[in-house]
């Protein structure tokens, strides 16, 4: 058995540790390092630069205004110009440069920010396997694929699926029966209580005809009313599209799950 047991020892309490100050400084270095890495990416540098240049222009105007207002300003005007106009202008140019740099070089990916401002920016990070709200798949003719076999409601550990089966009208004769379309049973009611659902995905695994899926990439949103969380058949079918799984034989684009 490779590897071993390693005895770890706590760090020595050297004078540097004991004096608080050095380690505090080091800590500040780390956190402020994060600050200075994240902060510049969130500053609208070009806007800042424009504002600073406008301020510089205002400063220059103010300096000239002072001179004309006073009428006796004989010396020191250069300094006034430098402080009121030159310094903001220099800072503004720096900001513009930073903005240009950021626009063409640095990206937010170089920072530590890993955020999706979710409600403002729709999340597009759902992986293909993400289990979201349920949906019911369709047949070619747009009817529901579900045959009311009750597998999903049986396997559901949360008891959240309620199915009432109904008998489809028999086709006039066996020869007119379309395999996989004319099923004997179909769900009269198919309800899922998303509030009870624990999003385990066992129903999808249990479905023998690819009728129920959770790959809608929508996670259950909030509703004001509890009753709104009970999704009925039509609502579940709205998200669904035609399944390419074919009962009784391989069809085109066969969807293999495992």
């Amino acid at each position: 058995m490779p590897g071993r047991t390693v005895k770890l020892t706590a760090p020595d309490r050297t004078a540097a540790v004991q004096s608080y100050v050095l380690e505090t400084g080091k800590g500040l270095g780390i956190t402020l390092g994060h600050f200075f890495k994240n902060w510049p990416s969130r500053v609208p540098w070009i806007g800042v630069g424009v504002v600073a240049l406008l301020a510089a222009a205002g400063g220059v105007a103010l300096a000239f205004g002072m001179k004309s207002f006073s009428g006796r300003m004989t010396s020191g005007f250069t300094g006034l110009l430098v402080m009121f106009g030159g310094v903001p202008a220099g800072l503004g140019l720096l900001a513009l440069g930073a903005g240009a740099y950021r626009k063409f070089r640095a990206t937010p990916a170089e920072t530590y920010l890993r955020l999706v401002p979710y409600p403002d920016v729709p999340a597009d990070y759902y992986p293909p396997r993400y289990r979201g709200e349920h949906r019911l798949m369709h047949r070619e003719d747009g009817s529901v694929r579900c045959v009311s076999c009750m597998m999903c409601s049986t396997v559901c550990p949360a008891d959240c699926i309620n199915i009432v089966a109904g008998n489809a009208a028999d086709p006039p004769s066996d020869s007119e029966k379309v395999p996989g379309v004319d099923a004997e049973k179909f769900p009269v009611r198919f309800e899922i209580d998303e509030l009870r659902c624990v999003v385990c995905g066992l129903c999808v695994e249990a479905c023998p005809c690819d009728a129920i899926r959770m790959d809608s990439s929508v996670h259950v949103t909030a509703y004001a009313n509890r009753q709104d969380f009970v999704f009925d058949r039509n609502r579940l079918m709205e998200r669904g599209d035609q399944s390419q799984a074919v009962q009784g034989g391989h069809g085109p684009g066969w969807r293999t799950l495992s």
Binding site: S19, T24, I30
Partner: protein
């Protein structure tokens, strides 16, 4: 009461007296208004800076929709949203609370912090009738003598620093009465902790500046700022490094922020202001950020040259023989900006410290205050006194004082701080052994 008479004698109740009164009011407004504004900005800064230190983007929700776009102004609108929330939130008073103390506590927490700003100079003298001319320091002084200059300080008190400590010491009543009056065990613990902590650190806070005050030879904040002046080698942080660090630590402890936020300790005891809600809580909140401004202003005045800017003389920037002359108004404006800039920078530092360090424990805090910081600050006072004596008796150039002070700082560290640290360590061990026996 001769003292009272003396104080009132200072105001001559004639025509000139009314002008003086009006001028004081104007000064008060110029100084307190930025403080309140800065306090509001700090609440924003704390959110925003913390968010970037923690890899977040901070407040984004409060916004104004203009033409279909949500204007958030970098989260600045949260200030307004907060204010509105505080005002309109239900004000809950616990039924068993001591009503008088409960109502009094927020006021006592906020008022003293505002008062201390009266003695803090945000700039030098503004010779308003000669605002457009290049004035030398002597000229400004002369105008100040004749009353032709406006003092950028609400009140010039010879005992300025003492006034500051006196009023900031009153802040303890706010916290401890809030804890006592709330009729809540957690709040009570918070209040008790606040009382003990703030009283203890008041001592250290006072002693850490004594070294600096010995050098400056005055208690008047404007004079303190002027002693340091535009020469960075004379600034308090250079000539009194130990004093500066200890002062900052003690001041953070006074303002009850991490690592010294024992009275509040959000995750342990929710704090002395646990039972407060609405604007009453908002006042505590304001007081806390006001203290942030106050600590910055104090530190800037005593250790960072106050409103002075390096190389900026009364008549403009001077470096060697180069001279960039500036009219008086420009110098005054730059100095005021520099002062507030220093305060904001210190606010930045305090916020950074808050979001970096863990919190101390109550007994460790006390140990640090009484047997860590107090002896060191005493040693600092002694060393400063001896050095000062040597410098003055041999008539050495005070311009070189900073070299000596840095050397001695090192010496103080080796002789006083280092042994002290090992000692507290042993204490810790003994203490912990006692614990482990108790627990198992």
């Amino acid at each position: 009461m001769p003292e009272m008479q003396q104080i009132f004698a200072g105001i001559a109740w004639n025509d000139g007296g009314w002008i003086e009164l009006a001028a004081t009011l104007i000064r008060a407004v110029i100084i307190v208004l930025p403080v309140i504004l800065l306090m509001a900005v700090y609440t924003w800064m704390e959110r925003r800076q913390a968010s970037f230190m923690q890899d977040r983007i901070g407040p984004t929700r409060a916004n104004i929709a203009i033409a279909g776009k949500n204007i958030t102004l970098f989260g600045l609108l949260h200030l307004m949203a907060d204010g509105l929330k505080f005002v309109f939130k239900e004000d809950i008073v616990p039924s068993k609370a001591n009503k008088l103390l409960f109502f009094l506590a927020p006021i006592l927490a906020l008022a003293p912090v505002v008062i201390v700003f009266v003695v803090i100079p945000v700039g030098g003298f503004f010779a308003y009738s000669h605002w457009d001319q290049v004035l030398t320091a002597d000229q400004v002084k002369a105008y100040a003598m004749t009353g032709d200059a406006f003092r950028l300080q609400a009140s010039q008190l010879e005992i300025g620093v003492l006034v500051i400590f006196a009023f900031s010491g009153l802040g303890v009543f706010g916290a401890s009465l809030a804890g006592y009056g709330s009729h809540n065990k957690w709040a009570l613990i918070g209040g008790l902790r606040a009382a003990a902590q703030m009283v203890s650190y008041e001592v250290t806070l006072g002693l850490t500046v004594v070294g600096a005050l010995l050098l400056y030879g005055t208690l008047e904040p404007m004079a303190i700022a002027n002693w340091q002046g535009h020469n960075i080698a004379r600034w308090g942080i250079v000539v009194q490094p130990i004093g500066a660090i200890l002062f900052l630590a003690a001041a953070i402890a006074e303002s009850k922020r991490i690592p010294f936020d024992i009275p509040e300790g959000e995750s342990e005891i929710i704090g002395y202001n646990l039972e407060y809600s609405g604007m009453r809580w908002g006042i505590f909140f304001m007081g806390e950020y006001m203290e942030l401004v106050f600590v910055g202003a104090m530190f800037a005045t005593i250790f960072l040259g106050g409103f002075h800017v390096p190389l900026l003389h009364a008549d403009g920037f001077r470096l060697g023989s180069h001279h960039l002359a500036m009219p008086h108004i420009a110098v005054v404006l730059v100095q005021m900006l520099a002062f507030w800039g220093k305060v904001v920078l210190l606010g930045f530092l305090q916020i950074a410290i808050r979001w970096t360090l863990p919190r101390m424990r109550y007994d460790q805090l006390m140990r640090l205050g009484w047997i860590g910081m107090l002896p060191v600050s005493l040693a600092n006072v002694m060393v400063t006194a001896i050095l000062l004596l040597v410098f003055t008796s041999y008539n050495w150039n005070m311009g070189n004082y900073w070299i000596a002070s840095l050397l001695v700082t090192l010496l103080v560290y080796l002789l006083v701080v280092a042994p002290q640290q090992t000692k507290t360590d042993e204490d810790n061990v003994a203490h912990d052994e006692a614990h482990s026996h108790g627990s198992h």
